[in-house]
Symmetry: C2
Subunit: 305 residues, 2 copies
């Protein structure tokens, strides 16, 4: 990019913050992180180290300096881009963004990683809301490419998208804000039916999970639902699909479940996940997920676009 950001500030140095920091550093960007809790530092630096080791496997061996501070103004000093990863609480984020906005010169962009809150609510107390975007990543952000962007100023959004592209991300710009943005809404719709199938005893939690990742999930690592149906429509493509199978798709929609997440269903899910995990700890499962993501990302680079 023409005006590559020289310094990225990370506000909120938990797992997501550490992942963003590693991504910036591996692309040669200097990173300064802020967290009010001094005890966050050690864990932050060790998460950054682990993520950088993974990024090195993808050939990303940049070495931007990474620093940590419990002083917000110090962390923001000289930053051209801020990625905020504070708690998912509207009042807290609103205050935090206003504070960042007040400390930074006008040219810098502020991005919030919020997954559940909408931009209009959290920028409400800012003096320059137009330079603030939502830029929602997927866990873990240093490996999963998607960044969903919501903004109010076309030029700011374009500059933010350029920045994420320079970090090897795939920005998707929303035309207007929606709770849950795009991808979590799709995930939530799918999960509702997954819970319905558990509730109805159609299959075990492990088998429902296996059905996804050995079936449509595998294809969805390559193409989205519209393109998938385009290829499922035979020679007529998506228009053939909609003409011939559209009505049965609509009937299917009407048959989908509307489960509750009551104590009984929750207990079924918890027991089913325990069975699926088979004694593996969350740390072990995360490691396997990250290994898997690295392997898939390497595999995808081999496929012609």
């Amino acid at each position: 990019m023409k005006d590559m950001v020289q310094k990225l500030a990370i506000v909120g140095a938990g797992m997501i913050g550490a992942s963003w920091a590693a991504l910036g550093s591996a692309h040669g960007v200097a990173v300064s992180a802020y967290d009010p809790n001094p005890e966050a530092e050690a864990r932050f630096l060790s998460h950054v180290e682990r993520a950088r080791t993974q990024l090195a496997e993808l050939g990303l061996t940049g070495d931007g300096a990474v620093s940590f501070s419990t002083d917000l103004a110090a962390a923001l000093d000289g930053a051209g881009f801020v990625q905020e990863n504070g708690p998912e609480n509207e009042a807290v984020k609103r205050r935090l963004l206003a504070e960042i906005d007040a400390l930074l010169p006008p040219g810098a962009i502020i991005a919030s990683s919020t997954s559940a809150l909408v931009r209009s609510a959290i920028v409400a107390d800012c003096e320059r809301p137009e330079r603030i975007v939502v830029a929602h990543p997927f866990n873990p952000p240093h490996l999963v490419p998607l960044v969903e962007i919501v903004g109010a100023d076309v030029e700011v959004v374009a500059r933010a998208a350029d920045f994420y592209r320079a970090l090897g991300r795939r920005p998707v710009v929303l035309n207007r804000e929606m709770p849950g943005h795009i991808a979590n809404r799709l995930a939530s719709a799918l999960y509702r039916e997954a819970v319905h199938l558990v509730e109805q005893g159609v299959a075990s939690v492990a088998d429902i999970d296996a059905a996804l990742c050995n079936g449509p999930g595998l294809r969805w690592a390559l193409m989205g639902p519209h393109m998938t149906y385009h290829l499922g429509g035979g020679e007529g493509g998506i228009s053939g699909y909609l003409a011939h199978l559209g009505p049965s798709q609509v009937r299917r929609w009407q048959s989908l479940g509307n489960p509750s997440l009551d104590a009984e269903v929750q207990a079924k899910i918890v027991a089913g996940v325990a069975e699926e995990a088979g004694g593996r700890s969350i740390a072990e499962l995360e490691l396997r997920r990250d290994e898997g993501l690295l392997a898939l990302l390497k595999a995808r680079t081999l496929v012609s676009d």
Copy 2:
């Protein structure tokens, strides 16, 4: 497997039938295919050839003989397992399965690839319905591992699952029949929200597709939704997730859309897919999908289980 099937009969020699045939052949199983249309033969054999070339890339170089006949009884002769891939029409499948059932000795298993019909309806005219299962694959069946099995006899279901496992598939057995089985219900739930986002103009068709395959879709090639939320719940895992974020998941469910697939929405989708395809033909897109699936399947074998 102990009693490996020596001969697989394929009934209905379209794309799905050819894909099953290639899979069997590449595992050293002799395959005899039936189709009433003599003109199906050339295309069938060329599809089998292409699929076998792809399977060879996965190290599957078995060489079971593949034959084609327009005579059902001849194709079924000596088959221990039948995979039916006739038209998705209840009356047609019902008649076809009854015909196969009448021609085959009792020990053989008959599996229907049906995606949209339920087992109880299509076995209604069979004399030995207990040896008939639904075994629904995902397109293309020689690459996507999932096979969803619905049956009435535990022993038949277990033998069928063993057969598919011997072909390198991942069988998932349903406890009871459901229209759309498991995976297409999950896909349908997700698609409803994808169409809603198109209808509401939140993003382009291409960007909604990109959001899936660069975000949750990538993770879902490795693990299903329950395990994904287990890893999204922090140290508390899935029980922590359900306790803290369950209520917001339920609120999200209530906010999901219920779009129509009317002419206007269909036109938006068709135009959006055309833009996304960028001039690439369906054959080119299929080739890219298959290349991608091959690369992902190879990558997954490298990840510890």
